[in-house]
Amino acid sequence: MRRPSGHCLAFSCMLPGIWLEEGHRRPVTLPERRCVEPIFEARRVEKFYEQPDGSRVQVIAPTDLAVHRNSVVALLGPSGSGKSTLLRMLSGLSKPSAGEVLWHGKPLDGQIPNVAIVFQSFALFPWLTVLDNVEAPLMARGMSAAERHKRALRMLDTVGLDGFETAYPKELSGGMKQRVGFARAMVVQPEVLFMDEPFSALDVLTAENLRGELLELWLGKKMPISTIFIVTHNIEEAVLLADRVIVLGRNPGRIRADFAINLRHERDRKSREFVQFVDYIYTVMTQPEAEVAASPLVPHERRRRSRPEPKYQMLPHAKPGGITGLLELLIDRGGRDDVFRLAGQLHLEVDDLLPLTEAAALLGFAGVKEGDVEITGDGRAFAEADILTRKVLFREAALGHVQLLGQIDQTLHAKADHTIPIDFFEDVLDEHFSKKEIERQLETALEWGRYAEIFDYEPDSGRMILADVGAQHPEGPPQ
């Protein structure tokens, strides 16, 4: 089912265009895009899980996405936004619950297109030598031993693993392992190279080094690849590598921004343009609920997404100690700072920092605006209080702002024995979140509730107990 080419024409008429983001006054020229059919295209692709009671948990909202030749596309998003799920649907590994993925205009029918994936965990076979690992995909294609050998060696040479052919993966460092992962992916000459957080398991320096080499290979056209699609949660990595960045939001996963990065390589991390891009992405990601202008790249009718109905409040997975630390740092820095700079200061990835800022905002301790975090009066009072007062303030804030904790508190007060099994709230959350997310929501709620001394929790019986009751009757529930 191909669409008439008129659709494609309408697309290119908008390009190149200038896009002005309010408040950032940053002109972004979009790259000229030739009118060719995309390599692959997702049409109203979504993922959801049916619950036994008939309701469904939406993991990814209906999403449209087209990827063209000769580009590096980065998919960014906080954890839990379904980046990996989307990648697996696009690459044919997992079937969408609805909608379809087209490769060269043809729908995928459970087949795997000519792609490769570089995994975060490397996914090498530990019992095969480096050479055998790289040869394995070629063997699957029925290639003769001699030819396989030749190609694998050439690819190992390209990624700088000369002389390691007979080593086993466990003898190699993380960076070397990922090189094997690259070699194995490229040796099949995939049309699209998917990468699922390929540098996340590596230390900072190794990751930086590998990124540089990847870019060198790509720019030098030494890779037999037409397009790279990289999933990451590292904003700088995305801006450093990609020609196009797609930012996903979560609950359910959906595209919140999709724009081109037209900076010339080698990109300078300190340049004004680079910082502006990074800042913009932070702004998008720190305002999870705001509707950001996606980008003019997306045709108008596609932008009209169904607004998700009012949702159950989602707790960011932050620990009270972390929130306190963030607030103290903010006070040291004059009460307000740029999220990007804070992340650098704390050596935190966005994935680790965002839950903290979100939690502070949720509790009314801080406000997030245009990529800056600013401490509020409540936040200042909390951060400057002593340990016991902090607990009181946290409790007030939590009961006032956090839906789930309020619910737990009310239920415990309502019950005669002031205790309730935690499973009860699993059921409450059941229609809003996936199983894994419910677990994390309750874990966070427990952490906060225990810290704020709203309730106690007995892991053996799996019951929550109203805190003051537990204190009055240390031996157990009242008679």
Binding site: I112, S121, A123, W127
Partner: protein, 584 residues
């Protein structure tokens, strides 16, 4: 020349460094050629014997000169049974892991089959095999092999199934993404991933095979007396005749065979399988085996590998890769396959239904008296198993902890204990019985000793391992805070070894139930000695050909074991996995 330091030193010590290279490889190859030749001879011998006319009761000689041949027969029986178990394991585990519908039936079934004692299979299997091959020795022989098979296969199948199920998602996806054929996936992903677990379980299974050898090689079934030449029947004949000298000789032979097998088969296999360990970082201490090193350096082995094994593997892999790339089976073929599967499933279901109806009819004739005896027997055996576990725990925990806390002691004690444990307790029964009868104890108490002999080792091993796994910083903390002996046990040692203790007890309990059949009922010196118990009931029913009682007793035991597993051990396991897990 040789890079690894370990290899350089050996020729020097042995002063063989001066032997020219070519000669050297010839010398190392000689034993391999010899072994190949011997294997061929044994197979011919066996084929001749199996094809021979049916002689249900061979006279078992008690002369020491018969021992080598008997050992070979027993070894081959176990070997063939093991091979069958392996084939069954791979197929059963594979289907259960990949077919969700089949899994729902196959896994609980495995759980039940696992709890059925080996000897309950005996009459059915034996009669079926003898009627299949009425004229040849092959029938009885296959019967014995199938019996050993039923004692070996279940835990292997379970291990393979759970390994395949737990293959990490990324590896699975990589295999799918790079379009591995089913064969390549099996050889490069599933089999290696399951390899270590499969080898350990194989070792345990073969040990179980030795345990039941005595029962499988010689037994009475109703009016018929079956005897197969082998080590088990030799030992049993010797103990029936009360020939202490022959018992000891048989025992020594069996232990030697087991120790040799351990050295030339299992140890090399385990050392070799280390490369299948699913780890991203190299571990510091790896088991090694001189035999493996010898094989790896052998010229003949490398020639066979280069000229034969590897090209063959290549051929097969490419054949399957080609098939997979060819357009996939058309709709009609898939449809036909689906229907065939349905028909097979329906047939199987029908067969099961018929069997159940038949069994129920048989059971309906059970008298109230029989039932009462069975309940009493079940209780007696249950108490005996409980006693065994309590006594086993009582002595193995202090001793195991003591050994585990002394690394130097552990290094000496562990291999010794391993040898002790590898001796099948059934083989020792005659000796123990002899002593027991001398001092005047009955089998009621004696069977506890016999059961203990067979099962306490599992507990001991696990306790030693657990004690060794307690991190030293916790021990140091205990020392710093001046824990007394009581606090030390209560706060550190007991919680520390808990998961290991549970694992040991579960294995021991399962083993004890199964062993009760041989421990509660015994032919000795021309007499039958027995005591009240479920195991005795099963043995007796087999002996007298009372199928009704056999079936009832078997169901009793399986139900008991499954219930105890579900209600006691599984929750304990859960506790061990969560609360008492020492996180690294």
């Amino acid at each position: 020349m040789n890079r690894s330091p370990g290899c350089v030193s050996i020729p020097k010590i042995l002063a063989w460094g001066s032997v020219p290279r070519g000669t050297w490889s010839l010398i190392t190859d000689l034993p391999i050629f010899g072994a190949g030749l011997a294997l061929c001879y044994v197979f011919i011998l066996l084929a001749r014997y199996w094809a021979g006319p049916f002689t249900p009761s061979v006279d078992i000689s008690r002369s020491p000169s018969a021992l080598p041949l008997y050992a070979v027969y027993s070894l081959l029986r176990i070997g063939v049974a093991y091979f069958l178990s392996l084939v069954f394991t791979l197929i059963y585990g594979y289907v259960a892991a990949y077919n969700a519908k089949a899994e729902r039936i196959m896994i609980p079934l495995l759980d039940i089959l696992q709890s059925i004692p080996v000897l309950s299979f005996l009459p059915g299997v034996m009669l079926a095999m003898v009627s299949l091959f009425p004229r040849h020795q092959l029938g009885v022989e296959l019967g014995a092999i199938l019996l050993i098979f039923t004692g070996q296969v279940w835990n292997m199948a379970f291990s393979f199934y759970s390994s395949v199920k737990s293959i990490p998602r990324d590896l699975r996806e990589a295999a799918r993404l790079y379009r591995f054929s089913a064969w390549q996936r099996f050889v490069q992903l599933e089999l290696p991933y399951a390899g270590i677990g499969l080898i350990w379980n194989s070792m345990m299974s073969v040990a179980g095979g030795w345990f039941f050898l005595m029962a499988c090689e010689m037994f009475v079934l109703g009016s018929r007396d079956f005897r197969l030449p082998g080590l088990g029947s030799y030992l049993q004949t010797a103990s029936s005749a009360g020939d202490t000298h022959a018992i000891l000789l048989g025992l020594i032979t069996m232990i030697s065979v087991i120790v040799i097998l351990d050295q030339i088969v299992w140890r090399p296999l385990i050392a070799w399988a280390q490369k299948f360990k699913f780890e991203q970082v190299e571990s510091s201490e790896e088991p090694h085996s001189p035999v493996l090193r010898f094989l790896q350096r052998s010229h003949a082995v490398s020639v066979v590998s280069h000229r034969f094994t590897r090209p063959l593997g290549e051929r097969i892999a490419l054949y399957f890769a080609g098939r997979e790339r060819a357009p996939s089976a058309t709709g009609r073929v898939a449809q036909a396959r689906k229907w065939a599967l349905r028909v097979i499933a329906a047939l199987v279901a029908m067969g099961i239904l018929l069997a159940v109806v038949d069994a129920l009819r048989l059971l309906a004739g059970l008298s109230a008296e029989d039932l009462k005896a069975l309940v009493l027997g079940a209780l007696a055996t249950f108490l005996r198993v409980l006693c065994v576990l309590l006594i086993g725990t009582a002595w193995t925990v202090p001793v195991g902890v003591w050994i585990g806390f002394n690394p130097r002691l552990a290094r000496i004690a562990q291999p010794l204990a391993q040898i002790a444990a590898s001796v099948p307790a059934t083989a020792l029964f005659p000796v123990v019985l002899l002593v027991l009868i001398r001092i005047g104890g009955g089998l009621g108490v004696g069977s506890i000793v016999l059961l203990l002999l067979g099962t306490q080792w599992y507990v001991l091993f696990n306790v030693i391992a657990g004690a060794m796994a307690i991190p030293s910083d916790l021990k140091e903390a205990a020392a710093v805070f001046r824990f007394g002996r009581r606090e030390c046990w209560q706060l550190l040692i007991l919680p520390g070894i808990f998961p290991y203790l549970i694992t040991g007890l579960v294995t021991a309990a399962g083993g004890a139930w199964n062993a009760s059949i041989v421990a509660e009922y015994f032919h000795f010196g021309g007499k039958t000695i027995s005591t009240v118990g479920l195991g005795a009931a099963i043995s007796q029913a087999t002996d007298s050909g009372n199928f009704r009682l056999l079936l009832a007793a078997t169901i009793f035991m399986a139900a008991f074991v499954v219930t105890v597993n579900r209600t006691i051990w599984r929750p304990m396991y859960g506790l061990a996995e969560t609360r008492f897990k020492l996180e690294s």
